[in-house]
Symmetry: C2
């Protein structure tokens, strides 16, 4: 689509920065020009505009269905957590206290105890579970909530890192350690499948190292994806808490033989940062490119010579014939077609459908694919089937493209020097061996700027020794510079 804006009005396209020149600026331009989000008066908090929020609604709807199909129930916990409750699990409070927003006044009065706005809700779920779980019959508890959380970040960027963001947080309690572990991996797989099948973003599944795991978790698992510029994005995490929180909060049940036991818990989260991921994985120099499954508008109908008799009527007729199965709109604005083309390319609409007087005569229309720029003439008789097929094709093509790009940016390295030169020449994932010591992990980061992304489930033997210290390697790790 490099020439998408050239032959046309082009003003919109001219306004965005070339992604190969300044990727960060390109990203910001797309966020603004595609009407995804706006800055708010409070630094680091964004306004989700209708188009950006509609993408989140599509993500939410489809993911929520998977949660329900896997037996999870939605709840809603309070927005605020008292300081004393937050402090109940010591690793957890150490991880989150430095970045929470504190409410200290209600109306004109100072509160007896300060309350934080939830940065995550483990403590709330735990204190509730302690009340409602008594017997093995009450288990498992498979709860989820959709809400916003606040973390007082210093550096922010729309979607990717904001002081307030939207997410879902699953919190479950199980009778045994094994069940908790199964749930942790089940939900990681739900996220991975969702990224690949819905967002068309391929991911690496693996475990976080000790120093990268969640505050209070025994084990943290992650899915990691690669952006167009070669930087990594942590795209979803799933944590196994063991019985650590259960002991801190006293969550016990009597088992079938009437003995008191602690529950084993998990939590897992997926956030609006993945809208940022969508932009950075699929976008191009004409703007956003949306996978059909999360595109608020899948087909935009642009009437050509719409002042001529019958054109607008035909466009509307096509729209209503398609709208049962496809998210479709007619652009009836009084802008010129060229301007409309650019605008919908900027917004990443998967298919543009052009219909003018000559097309109507021939009982046909022209469609243009956003992902390839390919232009095809279609008969109106089999339009619905053909469009559905094209949308499916775009969906799988985007995943394929992203996978090819990711793979072309994944290298192996056996020395810090090699890691550094790869990352500078062609940033991406680097597979390298690791001895397991946090000192080596820190040193890799210090020298190369790449952090450990995960210890992937699919291990390979790149060499027998640690990329850093040269001692015996324990595992292969994916490294990368990350958002």
């Amino acid at each position: 689509m490099a020439d998408a804006g050239k032959a046309k009005d082009g003003s919109l396209v001219k306004e965005i920065t070339n992604m190969d020149e300044d990727f960060a600026q390109w990203y910001t331009d797309v966020v603004k020009k595609a009407d995804l989000a706006d800055y708010s008066e409070i630094g680091g908090c964004i306004i989700f505009r209708p188009y950006g929020y509609a993408i989140w609604e599509l993500i939410q709807k489809q993911m929520d269905q998977v949660f329900k199909d896997t037996g999870h129930e939605n709840v809603y916990m309070p927005l605020m957590i008292s300081e004393s409750l937050l402090q109940k699990e010591k690793d957890h409070v150490a991880g989150f206290a430095p970045e929470v927003a504190w409410v200290t006044m209600g109306g004109h009065e100072k509160l007896p105890e300060k309350l934080c706005i939830r940065p995550t809700s483990e403590t709330l779920f735990c204190s509730h579970y302690a009340k409602i779980i008594q017997s093995y019959r009450d288990l498992p508890k498979l709860y989820n909530q959709w809400c916003s959380v606040v973390r007082w970040e210093k550096t922010t960027r729309p979607f990717l890192r904001t002081r307030e963001f939207l997410w879902q947080e699953g919190h479950t309690a199980h009778a045994t350690a094994q069940e908790a572990q199964e749930e942790t991996i089940r939900m990681l797989n739900v996220y991975a499948d969702f990224c690949e099948n819905v967002l068309a973003i391929p991911v690496i599944k693996g475990q976080k190292t000790e120093s990268e795991k969640f505050a209070g978790a025994e084990r943290t698992y992650t899915i990691e994806s690669l952006m167009h510029d070669g930087q990594a994005l942590q795209s979803g995490t799933s944590h196994n808490f063991g019985d650590g929180f259960a002991k801190a909060f006293g969550i016990q049940y009597t088992d079938a033989s009437n003995k008191l036991q602690y529950v084993h818990q998990t939590s897992w989260g997926f956030t609006t940062r993945m809208i940022g991921g969508l932009i950075m994985v699929h976008g191009d120099n004409s703007g956003l490119v949306l996978p059909p499954m999360v595109a608020p508008v899948q087909v935009i109908i642009v009437p050509i010579a719409s002042h001529k008799e019958g054109v607008l009527e035909k466009a509307r007729e096509i729209k209503s014939s398609l709208s049962k199965t496809i998210r479709v709109k007619v652009d009836e604005s009084d802008k010129k077609p060229g301007w409309k083309f650019s605008e919908h390319e900027m917004k990443g609409v998967p298919i543009r459908l052009e219909i003018g007087p000559k097309d109507i005569e021939k009982n046909q229309c022209v469609i243009v694919r956003r992902d390839t720029g390919e232009k095809v003439t279609l008969s109106l008789d089999s339009l619905e089937t053909d469009l559905e097929k094209a949308l499916k094709d775009i969906q799988s093509n985007l995943l394929e493209k992203a996978r090819t790009h990711r793979d072309s940016r994944t290298c192996s390295a056996t020395s810090l020097e090699e890691m550094g030169s790869i990352l500078n020449a062609k940033p991406g994932f680097i597979k390298a061996m690791w001895c397991g010591s946090p000192e080596c992990e820190d040193k890799v980061k210090e020298v190369t700027g790449a952090s450990s992304r995960c210890i992937p489930f699919e291990q390979e033997n790149i060499s027998d020794v640690c990329v850093c210290c040269g001692k015996k390697a324990e595992s292969m790790v994916f490294w990368g510079r990350a958002y």
Copy 2:
């Protein structure tokens, strides 16, 4: 259903207070025993448990569809508002500042300016509109958001008045005063239709008096419903702001003749307090009674003698044959049938379906309606159709019952004395004439404990003079003691 628990195990039923003896305690009992909500560690904030939240999800899903069908788009605005932004419209800040929660610290640092947690989001929408509205082509803006808000209330009660609650807030901007007025009334009608058709709660539509209107509004409209105990509940409000906020925030557009104009705005909100309304309008001494349209489980299948061969299988088979059109569950727990009956009555499940070995032999099942206690034997051949019919019937019966009750509790009065004695003997709505002065409005409240609910659209002439001062009446008003 007065005998619902008698012949059975009954333990659950015994635990709730009789509604005629102590309505407030009955309400709290239902909230807890029907697993709708739990108290949280923070006073005045509740935990929406799965069953309570599922009701809200059904409300949200159906109402959101109406919003989309009427051209509204969802957005998400930040949770926090700076003190200076809140202060931009003077009536608005005066109304809300005394009851907001203030964030004064981010991490370990004191914030340069304190931020309130949104009590409502007019100021956020206005500052956004000031940025994105330039021309008449940008109008109307029809935005909505689903979120939670915080108001630091002194006295709280689950769902009815909580420090944090969930709601939707619509915020629209229009070119003309007339369009804004049309939108205000359109959305009031959306709420009224929703209450009647979905929640089975009949409402009175009308305008709030000057002293009861929303902080910053020109005109506030309301729908008012009546609870079982004769107290009124404000059930949804719609506000016309005129151009007051537009002037405070500088929201201007150039019209078709290139002149600068101020926009005219509306806002309207509907909250989780209506779950409280559902409880108090339809509930009885066996617990909750849910209208099928918002019942998370519409039909509960209770297998009888479920240890016998084929019973559980048949129950599951019926479930899967129904589950495309009906929200249906099988209670497979190891509790006794009598206990299950009480439990699902407590939770207000509209229909219980019993199936045992003898029923299976005869290719039939027994259904019991929650609203009437009526027991009918149905053939399994036409089950889906018959159940759908029964659910429709329950839905309309509940509305009819509520309307009959409301009407039987609506009286006219021509003196304060008469108002007082009616309210003490048989609390409900009282229709009485009013001169329009705030002094008389205050005095009625002081003497009778009833506040003005609304000046109804459907006016009647009860008498020619004000119920309080005896001077010439301006309008008929609905009065009532309210939650």
